[in-house]
Amino acid sequence: MRTDRRQFLRIAGVAALGLGLKPGIEALLGRGLVEASPEILAQGAGAARRWAMVVDLPKCWANPGCTDCIGACDQTHNVPRFEDEKKAIKWVWLEPYGRVFPEQDPRLVSAGLGNRPTPLLCNHCENPACVRVCPTRATWQRPDGIVMMDFHRCIGCRYCMVACPYGARSFNFVDPRAGLDMDKVNADFPTRTRGVVEKCTLCAERIDKGGVPACVEACKQQALLFGDLNDPNSQLRKIVESRYTLVRKPELGTRPQVYYIV
């Protein structure tokens, strides 16, 4: 059969139209979605889980002056201590309540509440701003929601520190080993090096072995609760569903996963 120019163009046009319609038809049939979801679910060890934390402040405040959670974290992760605030490295730390939730009217927050020390840590956001800006993917979100740090890959550009609205990240301006007692470091966890950003990793290394974060384990008041938000039967999920909780700066859309009970 001889194909003339006009006929060729007609066939090519119909073929192009068909190709253009393909994604639309697939979307209508829902095939793309059905194919993607089991793949997402099968990713990694912590698939279909969503780790989160509840901080029960009245329980925490029942033991004034306690810093067990900070001590346990610092010991587990070799977090250095520096007197100079500019060099400070923070994974878990305390701030006065009034500065943790500054949007609450100070006239309505009683003076006593405003000054109470409130534990802070990385919020392991559902929509983490730090991950979006990291140029080397040294920080990324695991399928179980943990916003992880790969210290090997961090180039120290500090974009993530600018992006994080919670100040959860610290930069090693000096060699962190200068602020550590090298006789007492935990050899199972590395120290960091100068020029690297670090933050709470929700004890990913302990969770992967079936444990709970060190701060949760250390808290005698049981003011810190760790669990799977996606599991309808978990204690954490039941508390988040039944109690009134606050998250920090919800208006930013980062969807923090550390819930505070006041």
Binding site: M182, A187, D208
Partner: protein, 128 residues
């Protein structure tokens, strides 16, 4: 050749200085000297064969690092079917407890400077 009386002795002197280290090592027998590493006594078999580990331990460690940190995959199944924890301080240094006389001696000989120890602590360092 103009100035041959200067160029030829100069060339000989230059080549003499250039090759002096090679002749020195050949003369003293140091060229054949290998670093004297201290092997662990309690365990005979590493995670893979000695030849493989000699040639590829650096790639294996990088692979472990990527899989543990980025994928949370912490168990290594060796060629012989045995399972090990992918951990420098938890697995390697449990047997190779003498970092100074195992890792460092060979690395110094080969003049490689791995930056593992900028962050990871060897058991000796943490005790001493």
């Amino acid at each position: 050749m103009h100035d041959g009386s200067k160029i030829v002795p100069g060339l000989i002197l230059f080549l003499g200085i250039l090759f002096a280290p090679f002749w020195y090592n050949a003369g003293t027998g140091q060229a054949a000297a290998r670093p004297d590493i201290v092997k662990p006594t309690q365990e005979k078999q590493c995670v893979e064969s000695t030849e493989f580990m000699k040639a590829n331990h650096m790639q294996l460690l990088i692979q472990w690092r990527e899989e543990v940190v980025r994928n949370g995959d912490r168990t290594y199944v060796a060629t012989d079917g045995k399972s090990y924890e992918k951990s420098l301080t938890g697995s390697c240094l449990k047997c190779h407890s003498n970092k100074a006389e195992f890792c460092d001696r060979c690395h110094d000989y080969a003049h490689v400077q791995p930056n593992c120890w900028n962050c990871h602590t060897a058991p000796k360092e943490s005790k001493a």
